[in-house]
Symmetry: D2
């Protein structure tokens, strides 16, 4: 089935395998008139590049983006915008280990069950490189949101047992720290923890968070198109994410109503909430407070220890994965979470323009 | 926008307000030839009825379902199937408190911001009664899945601090216990905890879980239509759910790869996983192990304590909610989680039929 | 599959069989704040009622509509709006003729091939009564369009060989003439022609046209969501329509470019076209001139002559259809064409609000 | 909005402008296991190439296709398949005439109204080159259909007043004649007619037809997803098509029921229709007879005569178009009609797999 598209009005359709010729995305529904160049996209893509820090695999992948359509004289035309990143660093090498065995924690087995066979080179379509298209599309969504005063930013809040201290929150640190943590102290602790894991041929999980500020109240629909429901899908669709929460999230199950409810108050600037346990939505609709989302990410499934598994012939065997693999997924996935959030929020913003008759009449009357 | 539909091939479209004339659902894409009668649906709807236990509001709502189309001589025809439940217990009463004030934790404020006004009677479209359509549709999905040997069942695993003991798991207890817990001991403890909360004019949160067994490997698509992503959306779209997880969920963030990976092994019956940390999906595609999902639910926002809030004129005020309100949402929401899961899984099953050319050719050849 | 919905932002989902309990529609995406009552809908439904004239079957069907949700205190709420028409005139009668045989020109055979069986009572889901939901939804779309100065109206232009004379065009005559022709002379000639056909136990085809005025330029998208493409689908989806054209339609195939091109000119009120061969679209996008569409409708397939056919057991047999059947479909289908056009145009209007970044920014800024 | 996708299960998303860097398509939902190479696609693309005959513009465009993803070791993988054709023949030239003026019959004016500006180079997104993506996608759909014994082929039936003689129908002639007519006599007459039109600085319209054989009965849904409705949209979405018909099409309006109904008969091979006035569908569902569709195409709007028009400043002016333009659109559009038909039919075939419960159960049981 057609499962490579995301969004309604603003929709991305992604393509490409880890070791194929190229990866890319068609972004459809980009409003006309946005100033856009390849540098806008490249800044986002560079945040998911490997090889930047000690904790990340030393592969060098330039991932240079090319805009192929939809931009004319520096502005989006309103028609479909195509972007491509050529694969340059893949080499013909020995894939026989992956080709024959099902790596635990990977999609090898499920691909074979679904499709009958699979492109085993570097994980094929189930590789983390699949997110290139998401991030390229998210860069455009983020740029549009910025034009409207809406700010979307994601960061790491935990790596294994190491958690950030909210007192130390430093937004500028996100892009500077290899862990993408907004806390320099936690960043150091996390790096040390990662070194130990790597020395043990093991990998670790973590938590990432995304905050959206500047969002007007009223986005999202009351039933199936709840803003938080669509965000949950967006974020759970990122490989390795196993839990998603909004606001107080899992903690609400042990809260009392008197603690969890956010009181409203009014001042000269309008109506506000005294707290934000809800994480920015009420009844699935944005409530004017910042959106706060969290994703829990599993450890990298590629580890260098020997694991029990099965081969394609259904025989029991063992595998010890070789190659270049990060011991943690989170730092490079942060920009993916940010992108998926931006795409979802922008789509809700566009869909919301038709909610009220008086505003529609005014729109066409002016 | 059109936000009241869920599903691709098997799609429900729901309608109705808490205190309107009726609520209902159109179920589109029901395969022809399913034996179906109103009793099949009623059994599901009765599980979300209030008034059955001490912890639930004493309202009496019969919620009798009527099938209006799509069934002929006891079998589904393949055309759109319409079901309706008339509202009988609503009475004309004084809604001025809700009409004027924004109840904390409710969608009153966000509806007004989105639509300019709202049907304030009993919460209107944002009421828990909105789920009648979901459950009626879910009953059909569940029946189809049962015909294929797939079993979907949900239950409560925690109410406030009271958690079930997995050692005591008794599936038969789910439908008998007012808490929907599969553990009679925990059920008693939870009821006591709820009495205390109610005595304090307060409410509590909880956790519900859904398990799906009998699912073939291969359902779900690798990128945006991941089975777990669609389940996350399905379940987060249930009012009051603030977190969704699959398999080990939030715990993966503190796991090591060597702990989290599920080893494969083969025996005479095929390929299996030695553990199920993944909760039944790998790379977004079902892996043949049971699906295990969890949802974290906030406390009922309607509490009888006085709360600070704002009225429609933007003035600070106070509210002490009156009326009939459960101190917990979870037990009645369990069947909603089960329904949303069944709808999602069935849709994935139908979509998956087109994954392989050889199977398509065989389908039409026979 | 789910095939009973139409539209993206403004979407109808219809249900019901000719002789089932009821028929209806869920209209999703209705903007909040439209004043709406059942009378608004009833006026449209009454136009497709039979029994009003000599040429139409003498059945009496009241087709009273009931609004079940989505309206509060006389205004649409923005949530899903459900409408129902109960079937009252169907009686238990002898369907064995239809049940066993495949009526030529009807969907009996194709339903059996697709679904394995069918609800044979009065044609079931393939009956003309299926259009009740379309017309009820179209009534709402038309009302919204009227609020924006957009006028959608359909009428009959030919019945068999009898064609209207454009010189005689009288819009007021449409609703008064049993043929729905805007020409009183042609109306009389057509009625005489129909009497002859009926006397011969035969039926006749015809042509209907729909005009839309007041439409702004810019609606529709350049590739697959062309306004004319979506209108073609909308109108071809009406049972018995076998051809759809826009503007000069089939005649363009014998035109020269120098004849077919519409010259532009400017005056103090803006830019216009000197002619309207294009029928109101250029490149799939509305060009500010009136939309003009035409549909060619086949003769009623139910005729009282004996016809060769096959029964469900695959045996050759004969059928002479009994019962009450109009000798022509067109006059009652005119309001269906008007409804489908209104639905399509409104959806394009809502979708078009997101075409330009500057307008989006202005929308949220104000 | 996102308007560059077509199809549900098998979906193409196209991109690219006439004179941009490249054009392409993402084909999503391709079943795994189809043998596919670039040559399969190139054969289709070559049929829409200009420069092959005297009637066609002498531009040389190689339009070489490259498959970028979704194929592994010669077979489709089931994941999204990306194809690209680089633009090679465009040169930097003087576009000031098109940039400033609205060409009659073109989308220049409507693009400006919709988007505020446009990529004026060669028509940008509204160029006939937009169909490259459709044809590349259609080539894959056609190949799959062929594997199932379904044959889709289109051809020219009229150019201006010159019509083919059905007695002379020669399928092999379609690909050999520059007019794509299956009649060598008519082909000669048409070429002569075109020479005259060209000498007069004028252009002409025509008619193309598509036939589908081997289709099983049962495809398409009874209401909005009627097979003929979706085909109407598919074909009307091809630029310059102004009318679409199925079977007897416009002629049904002057038929009698006794003439138009197709009698059924049975023989040892099953149930058939004695005639095919319906063109292969009954009630929107395929009836086992060949599908027969026709499209009426307007004359090329680019003519070399002087025309009245308006410039971007809203001033009256004149334009005499220069450059290389075919005097007729039809011969090169035939493969586009064939492609859009193949895409629509294949999607209906895939969707139809879920119509019956017994077949679903059997599918998963085996």
């Amino acid at each position: 089935m057609a499962g490579n598209s995301f969004g309604n009005i603003f929709r991305i359709t992604t393509w490409g395998e880890s070791h194929g010729k190229a990866l890319g995305v068609v972004v459809d529904g980009v409003p006309a008139g946005l100033e856009l160049c390849e540098e806008d996209i490249q800044l986002f893509l560079d945040r998911r590049k490997p090889g930047q820090t000690g904790i990340s695999t030393p592969r060098k992948e330039d991932d240079l983006v090319e805009i192929l359509s939809g931009v004319f004289e520096g502005k989006t035309t309103g028609t479909s915008l195509s972007m491509m990143v050529k694969n340059t660093s893949q080499k013909s090498r020995d894939y026989s280990q992956i080709a024959d065995c099902y790596r635990p924690g990977h999609a090898d087995y499920t691909f074979d069950e679904k499709y009958g066979f699979r492109d085993y080179r570097g994980g094929g379509r189930s590789s983390g490189r699949e997110t290139i298209g998401r991030v390229a599309g998210g860069a455009i969504a983020s740029k549009i949101l910025k034009e409207m005063g809406i700010d979307v930013f994601a960061y790491t809040t935990a790596i294994g047992p190491v958690k950030i201290d909210r007192e130390n929150f430093d937004r500028n640190a996100i892009l500077l720290n290899p862990t993408a943590m907004p806390d320099n102290v936690a960043n150091e602790q996390a790096l040390a923890f990662l070194q130990t894991a790597r020395a043990n041929y093991d990998s670790v999980g973590g938590v990432m968070e995304c905050t959206v500020t500047g969002l007007p109240a009223g986005l999202g629909d009351p039933v199936f198109e709840k803003l938080d429901a669509n965000l949950a899908r967006a974020i759970m669709s990122i490989g390795a994410v196993k839990a998603v929460e909004i606001g107080d999230g899992v903690r609400v199950s042990e809260s009392l109503g008197s603690e969890n409810n956010d009181a409203f108050f009014a001042d000269e600037t309008g109506i506000h909430k005294a707290t934000n346990h809800s994480g920015g939505t009420l009844g699935g609709i944005s409530d004017g407070a910042p959106l706060v989302l969290r994703a829990y990410v599993k450890p990298t499934p590629s580890i260098f220890q020997t694991q029990h598994t099965v081969n394609r012939d259904g025989e029991n065997t063992e595998i010890a994965i070789k190659g270049r693999h990060d011991p943690i997924i989170v730092p490079r996935a942060v920009v993916v979470m940010e992108s998926m959030t931006a795409l979802t929020v922008l789509d809700a913003l566009l869909l919301n323009m038709t909610a009220r008759l008086d505003r529609i009449v005014e729109f066409y009357g002016s």
